[in-house]
Amino acid sequence: MKRNGAEIIVEILERQGVRTVAGIPGGANLPLYDALRDSSIHHVLARHEQGGAFMAQGIARVTRRAGVCLGTSGPGATNLLTAIADAKLDSIPLVIITGQVPLAMIGTDAFQEVDTYGLTLPITKHNFLARRPDELLHILPEAFRLAESGRPGPVVVDVPKDVQTGECEFDAWPEPWSNSAPAPCNPSEIDALACMIHDAKRPVLYIGGGILAAGCEAELAQLARRNSIPVICTLMGLGVFPADDPLYLGLLGMHGSRATNLALEEADLLIALGVRFDDRATGKVAAFCPQAKVAHIDIDASEIGKIRPADLSIMGDVGQALRQLLPLMDAPPRDTWRSRIAQIQIDFPPAQPDSDHPLHPIRLLREAARLLPHDTIITTDVGQHQMWTAQIYPFRHPRTWLTSGGLGTMGFGFPAAIGAALARPDRTVLCVTGDGSFLMNNQELATLAELGLNVKILLMNNGHLGLVRQQQELFYGERYHATRFEARTDYAALARCFGVKGVTLDPLEDPAEALARIFAQPGPCLIEAPIPENANVYPMVPPGAANRDTIGGTVHA
């Protein structure tokens, strides 16, 4: 058969099972858009390429399949960069297809030419510059394989315009990529792990995004429950283990609970599964779990021993390792450790509101959790609202919590919510955001208005870049600078301008009734909550300090 490069791309996307792509057209990817017009693939027209790429991330984070986004050359490509880097740091599978100037013009500073290959090299799992249409037959399935296999990540395919229009003859379509069963782990290492867990008096499971990537939440829950091992989550790992289980300790690290950080102090075995000992999680590394031996399982060999040497390391798929491990495990009751954990939880209860303001974020989040279905997908932006949500919201299902963990990108939450709703139109999606973060991708209100998806935006308006203001208060002697917004923006009116319903909660009233009314109506709505301006997130470990040196965290009057 004979096809041009653009047709090859579109057909391979279809064969790969891609149903939705997000992006923006321009001169250098017009052939691709022309081919897309005849395709069954739903193209979502974003209003900024970063928004499009975060929509693709939202799709990827809830489905575990590569999200796809498109951009033109030059500014289209540079606008994508932040969301690509974000996907790299959180190991999210993405395939990003960019237009490029024609081959012969590369290197001439042609109109809208930028070195997309060079720019994306350090922020992708891999990147390709296609030089012939027939190369696409190999590159595209390979891009999906790379994005989704092993430790997932973003893959960029840069396609010059003449490679999109150029034709080639070929006999057969390549097989779409599909994930095969993971390789077995070394049995003697699994035996050693079983012994280590058996011998431990105070083991702790330290789990992260790797469990979600491997899709082994059920195996993890079995291990924890059968062996009475408390579960501690990284920011990426929230939702993996149900928050209402007595073995659930919650978030560790900078804004983790005291109970969690204390349990880690006392642990004699740290079972680290799909985690990377991120500095926001460990605090000062030398003081992290000082008494504990470490068993580390990860699919990525370069993570093992990177920050903390492991006493036992297993390189492999964590789900596979757990499936091999479970039959070898006995079920010790660990009564002493269980009651110690229960006591720690009583001594250090979850964060409480630090004022009786009816719209204190902690109250709002508790109310939202009470009203919304259990399988509601929550996305956040970056800041205090993100940390409150991580601390307070009782996640019960995997992939119901989408947040920018590694890069900490303001602007993530709203487009990611649109992506999540595109992938799961049956669910409610709630984007918890701040007044600072929301403005970074608010243009996607137009996209949401077109799509009419069931996305609710809970905008916690404190008139500040709250998390930065908090750091200035605590660590810079209250020398506030550039963290207060002088202009009062009417966010509900902003939403209405775009054709999305917008409401402002009354700061003097119990929000329960208003929230119940809003959540009961399907379709998009922005809820502006004027929250107290100076509320802080506690507990907090100062940057660079040991996790035991927490500020706050007991009940605040």
Partner: protein, 94 residues
Amino acid sequence: MPDPVIDLLVQNHAGVMSHVTGLFSRRAFNLEGILCGPVEDGAQSRMFLLVNEDRRLPQLLNELAKLYDVIHVELRHDIPRQAFDPMQVVREEV
């Protein structure tokens, strides 16, 4: 013992060098010498990177092994520093 040399077998195409050297430059890790040439009829390249002893080397070897175009990576200590002296080629010419 001669200085450490990272011995790499890679696919021979335009982006490989950037992928490899990018891992070093982002860590402000200087490459003291680079020796590179085609093998296997030009489909692959063999690359020797002369480096100083550094506690980050094991991590870098792991990162190199992860690169798509890297086929094999090994640390060796048997290549004399003089092999990286560009002047030896020039001297032989004159």
